[in-house]
Symmetry: D2
Subunit: 297 residues, 4 copies
Amino acid sequence: MDYRTDLAMERTIHPGGIGEGVTVQTQSEGEAEITWVRIHTPTAAKRLGKAEGTYWTMTHPEMPYLTPEERIDVARQVAQTLRLMLPPKGTVLVLGLGNRRMTADALGDRVVSGILVTRHLQEYSAGALRSVCALSPGVLGVTGVETAEFALSLVERLKPSAVLVVDALAAMESDHIATTIQLTDTGIHPGSGVGNHRKEITQETLHVPVIAMGIPMVVYASTIVRDALKTIFATEKEDAEAHALADSLVSQTQQDLVVTPRNIDELLAGLADMLALAINCALQPSYSIEELTHLLH
Amino acid sequence: MDYRTDLAMERTIHPGGIGEGVTVQTQSEGEAEITWVRIHTPTAAKRLGKAEGTYWTMTHPEMPYLTPEERIDVARQVAQTLRLMLPPKGTVLVLGLGNRRMTADALGDRVVSGILVTRHLQEYSAGALRSVCALSPGVLGVTGVETAEFALSLVERLKPSAVLVVDALAAMESDHIATTIQLTDTGIHPGSGVGNHRKEITQETLHVPVIAMGIPMVVYASTIVRDALKTIFATEKEDAEAHALADSLVSQTQQDLVVTPRNIDELLAGLADMLALAINCALQPSYSIEELTHLLH
Amino acid sequence: MDYRTDLAMERTIHPGGIGEGVTVQTQSEGEAEITWVRIHTPTAAKRLGKAEGTYWTMTHPEMPYLTPEERIDVARQVAQTLRLMLPPKGTVLVLGLGNRRMTADALGDRVVSGILVTRHLQEYSAGALRSVCALSPGVLGVTGVETAEFALSLVERLKPSAVLVVDALAAMESDHIATTIQLTDTGIHPGSGVGNHRKEITQETLHVPVIAMGIPMVVYASTIVRDALKTIFATEKEDAEAHALADSLVSQTQQDLVVTPRNIDELLAGLADMLALAINCALQPSYSIEELTHLLH
Amino acid sequence: MDYRTDLAMERTIHPGGIGEGVTVQTQSEGEAEITWVRIHTPTAAKRLGKAEGTYWTMTHPEMPYLTPEERIDVARQVAQTLRLMLPPKGTVLVLGLGNRRMTADALGDRVVSGILVTRHLQEYSAGALRSVCALSPGVLGVTGVETAEFALSLVERLKPSAVLVVDALAAMESDHIATTIQLTDTGIHPGSGVGNHRKEITQETLHVPVIAMGIPMVVYASTIVRDALKTIFATEKEDAEAHALADSLVSQTQQDLVVTPRNIDELLAGLADMLALAINCALQPSYSIEELTHLLH
């Protein structure tokens, strides 16, 4: 059963999601819903198809259409969580994954272009600015270099205290497209995502903490069809049989298709700005979030 | 039953498609399949939800991945059909519909940017070049002007002998995305398309022949789900009941979502170049298609 | 003597600029300098190579690098002047001249993309929004249609009460690039500008008031060389002789070259946003400038 | 005397350019002129302000406007010279320097996007494809990482047999903009270039051969003014005095301005494609240049 979702939260709301080795906490704040998923054991990790660690998710049904004030609010909350996950000191290397020439896969690159980079200003800043650098590795088919290899090269030379990886995600439910932010301390694991451009990028491979941040921009067409079919079959058949039948009806063609909002190009810019703001806010506490907002324009 | 397809051909392959007032001719050429659909009567037009007139469709499963020679071949065939539909003389006004900032809706604008415009060179060309002009009207939400109004303004002043409208289409079947070209002498009718930006643009409204050309870039997510559901229900229920049930299960959210290839940005450029080449070839017979190919680069 | 400048203000600061038939008023506001030039007679118009009418110019040496508050301030002043020049009621048609694919010529198109268009919302807005539409005509070499012809087509059909034309300008002095805004009620006259894409677009040709707004993005290389040469020769020779000698030394090649800031792509976005804000502010007095600022992001 | 040119050839055509330690060979091929400059001694290197090594330059006055056949011809000649400079085997790492968001500085990034990358296909290609990877490091102000540091990180991990660096250059003479290709085995040295984004990237720093390739996209405005002035003064004064006087008249503002063709955006695409073709041709001898041409479209 390949669910092709990057959201740990989605796995927990499906049958068998929660259980031994998994803790889920949710809280509502206005229209926003925040979920902490913690996966404690290798068995639970295997059952959910997600690595052991912590996943923070914020879902807001109006996320692409927030007012400026609401956006600052969301960014501030993301920044707070990000600060909890990052070490308090040292250079942070931000990597924007994905293919900037494919709208559905361009989130990482766009976020990176909004990051306040400061590593080269350290001698002038007298400690007022945390050292940050930000790069877009591109994708294997365009560069000939695995993103994981790229990350390792830079980490070895720049010696950051942590790596923050930003990427466009894939969800299982279309309601989560462009409305959900996930932050996790587990890094990036291959096997889902929009562009399949991902060998493992984790603390194990890079030897520094790796935080991953993303927003789902697509659902695979196969997922949406399979899901619709399962709903039907479930009323008549055993669960496993329903799933197998649904899988058999998903055509090969649909594997390469994605479901996405018509106006994804437009949504992308706003969401990327919001994540860049959150990152800048988390990394530069000596600036107010309002000052940082102005830097993006 | 809202099928939301711009392809007349797709309507004829569904139950009840062919029948009185409709002629369908198909022919295969290698991997390509060409279909002529002619709708002769108002009743047939109503039944199929498509205007009376002629629709030419070419489907090639490898269309986005053709070799340069194969692309020239496809463009040449489109050009021949286009020449049949256009009046032999006079200025042709090419309009590239849609929103250039939304990849799935940008085909028209991209094609227009490849058109060999010559209207302003008439005094130098001594009759060697057919007069062509090409504009992108943009979309109502961005300009405040209906595309149909824009077209009428320009037609009244420029007095072209025909208008050629290029637009991104919506299909019912995902196999037709990026693989099918439709040419029709019926112009543009509201109600489908990617961006819903379309009041009627037809010979009735503009008083000159209006040819419409397009390639499906999306299937509405609602269509793909409905289709999957119908397949299932059809085995157990009456046709009408299956359809109604399928419709009831398509959620509102899915109405705004589209199914599209992950690499649509990449496909767009190649398809737009091919259509521009076909148009240039149809309109400038004094140049060879090879010479025209070089103009695009 | 072809000075190739669009700024009337620049003509008045050169020898013989002011004189009979020309009134010049300047005032300083902080670092900004505001100049009103009024050309009252055909003789003065001929002498300066600028049409009879009013030209308002604001120069701020830090214009591309203002704080958000300062930018709002500049936009507000531009809006006030614009409101003086525009009729109080009726649809305003905003035209963004130039070639969006040439950075130095893309200002008009970029400004248009930030305009709040409302003409299609009139029935819902109950008088709260002034009717505005905004289009980019493109350039003759790309469309086959003169900008002036395009403007006339739209004016005849949409019947606006005024036309506002936005365009990238050429200056004589490099200090004015990206630092000077000109507003004039004389419309657009051929013969200067970045892209040479301009037949006359004026009240005489369109039969409604035509306001032109722009910012210099380049100086012609020939201008800068000629200027440097004149300075030298002026110490040794008579004025006319110095000019003639300078002109003779400007090579043909240099005619096609422009002088521009290295980071023009970056400056463009900020300046276009500021002009769009000024226009939105002038046309929608029921919104505060702060509310309108948020619309751009 | 800061000439701010990246072209060694330009240094040799100025007074004192050729002399001890410098060999210059030129040959004409149709309209093209090819120059080999070899700098043999540290003294000559210091005199010319260029590193010891070999510089190959091809100038063609119509370079941006060649026919497809002529472009293939130029690319083939560049490829031949490039093959002489590169080691015959091993991975080649192509680095596209500069800022992709500044047109005048975007050549490197654009060329990289046309490179046939093959490093990740080595296991499938059975030796038919030479291993190539291609990356754009971005610029210090955007990434926080020096290009030289980036290069070193990747070289240490990927262990290429050579690095090929592509960058937009600055020339002294406006006739060389967009018409001249330079290839050199001396790598990149700080101090000129469009974006000043360059610490040394050479065999000394990377421990593998470093070939640099580029095309001038600008002349600094200060250069063009200084040049015009020198011509004048030279008729009346001693050489050194003329230079000093010219230098004193170049204003500070002009230091940040560049002279560039109005249509640089348009020229960029064609020139980048041509260089990418040349590189692909040099690195993949098992493909014909015609096959490689098709890969770019």
